[in-house]
């Protein structure tokens, strides 16, 4: 997990007191005091896969983009991301990355189009970096405004049923990666069907002062369990999703990170985004190294930083690793050089000086249950 170490006092989300009152263990994360766990990581992980998990993700940066002429915000984002933003329909959300000139990643984010404006959600630990990046590439036709709101995620097979009584919109009509404004818990809210667990679920952006009551109300449902950062990490690892600071960085390109799906054909042909030279070359020729899943033999996890070897030679590094409670054993993701990153390739992870056998495996480790359009 990417902690930000600095001397500034920890910020608190509107739910910090609620977490503390429920006995959560709080840790510094992205400059905030955040819950690491409530009942325990495995119990919370399982509760999310089987029922519904409730996450405070208010540390994440929420931004609003306004434009002085139609299309300006989309055009600007097409300069900053390799994704199709011009074609993003009203009410649709898209996962993408902000690239830098060198073809690395400034941050990964969700972009939602609401017609006359857009909304962005960026990583908490990357708020300042994103602000600086936007300032350096500012467009006078586009205004970026931070939104000071709570953000709550509810994820899992019971998420829709648990949330539906408290929102004004018809959740069954909201498909994966779409969003709508409406009322939630009596306040104005933005509700998106998306998440970071591989499960179906929602994110609700709502005023901070109603967040504690919303949280408490949802927790009264026996199928809903609060989930801390610990299980958030095991859930996203099983879902094969990148964590910025580990699997994505200013040096790692989106092609290396194997998220080339964010870059559709038009963008590959036209380019015109920061870092396009490197990114398009890697997309055409194949990257020198690539993010892969790793299945680990035995029960010793290979964690971030473990070197990966083939025949005694270093060929990669683990960037995220741990135990997958649903998988029932250790799993990891890492970057492995070409020639050794095909699925099924046997490698060794060096853990405490010993070689642990690992096999390059397909991602995700646990199939996605997102509710896609049928």
């Amino acid at each position: 997990m990417a902690d930000t170490a600095n001397d500034a006092p920890l910020k608190r989300t509107p739910l910090a007191e609620t977490h503390e009152a429920s006995g959560a263990r709080m840790v510094p994360f992205a400059g905030y005091s955040m819950p690491l766990q409530y009942a325990g990581i495995i119990a919370e992980h399982t509760a999310c896969r089987e029922g519904a998990g409730l996450f405070d993700v208010s540390h994440m940066g929420q931004l609003r983009l306004d434009e002085s002429e139609p299309g300006a915000a989309a055009a600007w984002l097409e300069r900053l991301t390799p994704s199709n933003i011009n074609g993003l329909k009203e009410g649709a959300a898209r996962y993408s990355v902000l690239t830098n000139e060198a073809g690395g990643v400034v941050d990964d984010l969700i972009i939602t189009n609401f017609g006359d404006h857009m909304r962005l959600v960026v990583n908490g630990a990357r708020r300042d970096a994103v602000a600086a990046h936007f300032a350096a590439h500012a467009d006078p036709k586009v205004t970026v405004t931070p939104i000071d709101r709570a953000l709550i995620a509810i994820q899992g097979p019971e998420a829709e049923a648990a949330l539906a009584p408290f929102v004004s919109i018809d959740l069954s009509a909201l498909t994966f990666m779409t969003a709508a404004y409406g009322e939630a818990f009596g306040a104005d809210a933005m509700i998106s069907r998306c998440g970071y667990t591989g499960e179906d679920g929602f994110e609700i952006s709502l005023p901070g002062d109603v967040a504690p009551a919303a949280w408490t109300t949802l927790c009264e449902n026996p199928k809903v369990s609060p989930v801390g950062l610990g299980a958030r990490d095991t859930l996203r690892l099983e879902a094969g999703l990148c964590l910025y600071g580990q699997d994505l960085s200013e040096e790692i390109s989106p092609v290396e990170a194997d998220i080339g799906f964010i870059m559709p054909r038009r963008r590959r042909e036209e380019g015109g985004f920061l870092g396009a030279e490197r990114i398009l070359a890697e997309a055409a020729q194949g990257p020198a190294r690539k993010r892969v899943g790793l299945k680990i033999e035995g029960r010793v996890p290979a964690r971030a930083g473990a070197v990966l070897q083939a025949d005694g030679r270093d060929v990669g590094i683990v960037t995220s690793g741990g135990v997958g409670p649903t998988v029932g054993g250790p799993i990891a993701m890492g970057f492995v050089e070409a020639g050794h990153n095909e699925i099924g390739t046997e490698l060794a992870a060096i853990v405490r000086g010993k070689a642990v056998p690992v096999t390059v495996a397909p991602l995700p480790f646990v199939p996605s249950r997102a509710k896609r359009k049928t």
């Binding site: 990581i41 610990g230 996890p301």
Partner: protein
Amino acid sequence: MKRYTKDHEWIEDADGILTVGITDHAQEQLGDITFVELPEVGKTVAKGDAFAVVESVKAASDVYAPVAGEVVEVNETLDATPELVNEAPEAAGWFAKIKTASADLSEFMDQAGYDEYLKTIS
């Protein structure tokens, strides 16, 4: 009588054979334990050696030998049921037995002393 170290291990002496494990506080801090790497029986350990590793869902943590000696027995049941360390850290979740020539445990804390120590670090 049980003794406790500042590294959150407990030690119980039975005629120069010391049973060693981690404290309830330690298991609580570590969270769900998924694997314990124990030393081999017969291994000689120096005081302060990392002689075992606890893998929790969160992280890997070293466990240090509180005394020098020879590992004469390890808790094989942890192999199949590492969660015993969470459930009964100071009983069925013991780690290893170390045979030592000089079992002077006076430098370690008793239960009351350890309870006081926990208050100072929380």
